[in-house]
């Protein structure tokens, strides 16, 4: 989903930067508040950032015969709500833009918008929706992570189609083109990300019950039966 350096016209680059900036600023505020009010959550915050770091470094082959990578933003969005992921995702994207020539500074705004804002919000939204209808935790986590991953790549496709509409078929034609590059490639990877996020959440349920309860991921009324696991 990395739009390469210089590959968005200046007007688009500025517009996406302006759209992303308030989310990142708001994210920094909620992150500092979280750390100040609950210093004990720093570790888990670090782990969520680490998860994004690992997953966005893994380039996996896909059914379309090309490679892409998961985003890892669903986990942190489910645990700490999406604003925090706006920051952690931006840090990951900055690392890749500066050291790996992957993505770029001029396209950072657009990439942050897709991976660190829309992805986490969409994934979190699905997760909350499913939880409201009493869908089991791990199923909701799977679809949360799946949607966070896939929606990121859909946004990238829209961003590129807006900047480079097809000369004959216009925006929709270009959207089909970029969508077939990004979105279809991403479906199996989004499944992988969903499964890995479920795996980490299972380990967290085992190891960090108190933390998950405080964050509202585990409901207090459900903890009674699991006294042995401690």
């Amino acid at each position: 989903m990395h739009i390469a350096e210089g590959f968005l016209p200046p007007a688009h680059a500025i517009a996406w930067g302006a759209a992303s900036a308030p989310f990142v600023v708001h994210g920094v505020r909620s992150l500092t508040r979280e750390v100040r009010e609950h210093p004990e959550s720093t570790l888990l915050l670090g782990a969520s950032g680490a998860f994004t770091f690992v997953l966005s470094a893994l380039k996996l082959p896909s059914v379309t015969g090309s490679c892409s990578h998961p985003t890892g933003t669903g986990l942190g969005a489910i645990l700490f709500r999406p604003p925090v992921m706006a920051v952690l995702g931006t840090i990951t994207l900055l690392f890749q833009a500066l050291l790996l020539a992957h993505g770029g500074l001029t396209t950072l705004g657009a990439n942050v918008f897709s991976m660190a804002i829309v992805g986490p919000w969409a994934g979190y939204g699905i997760y909350r929706l499913l939880r409201r209808y009493d869908v089991p935790l791990m199923v909701a986590v799977f679809f949360g992570a799946f949607v966070a991953d896939l929606s990121t790549y859909c946004v990238t496709s829209v961003q590129l189609a807006l900047a480079f509409p097809d000369p004959s078929s216009g925006f929709l034609g270009a959207l089909g083109k970029f969508g077939s590059i990004f979105a279809i490639t991403q479906i199996p990877l989004a499944i992988s990300e969903g499964l890995l996020t479920v795996l980490v959440m299972r380990l967290l349920v085992q190891s960090s019950k108190g933390e998950l309860t405080r964050l509202g991921v585990l409901l207090t009324r459900k903890t009674g039966t699991e006294a042995v696991a401690r």
Binding site: P9, P61, S62, S207, G210
Partner: protein, 119 residues
């Protein structure tokens, strides 16, 4: 093996299968260069849609070779994996320490009913 561990292993196996299947089934065979990055394919698509487009900014730093680049990607994954391993290791150690302390206390007193959540 415990049931939970089995499920975790199955999850990992499924992820591995999803990654290996496209390679095993030769799904990249129709391409000149199989399994290139989708990001690079998007760049190609851009130059097809708008042949006149010139990237107006280039990366400040570019890894001088594929080896250096893959090394940096491995570094990124290693840093992340290391931090995750630290987290889970620390949690496990704390849990074991707490359990041991409880045992020692329990040896001194008669064991009461469980349910005191030490969160």
């Amino acid at each position: 093996m415990k049931r939970g561990t089995k499920i975790n292993l199955l999850l990992l196996l499924a992820v591995a299968a999803l990654a290996v299947l496209p390679l095993a089934l030769g799904l990249g065979d129709h391409k000149e260069e199989p399994f290139t990055g989708a990001d690079a394919e998007a760049e190609t698509a851009i130059t097809e849609l708008d042949p006149d487009y010139e990237p107006w900014f280039s990366p400040l730093y570019e890894p001088p070779s594929g080896e250096i680049e893959s090394g940096l990607f491995a570094l990124q994954a290693a840093v992340g994996a290391g931090a995750l391993a630290y987290y889970f290791g620390l949690r496990r150690g704390r849990r074991q320490g707490a359990a041991r302390a409880q045992e020692q206390q329990g040896a001194a007193r008669t064991p009461g009913h469980d349910g005191a959540e030490g969160a």
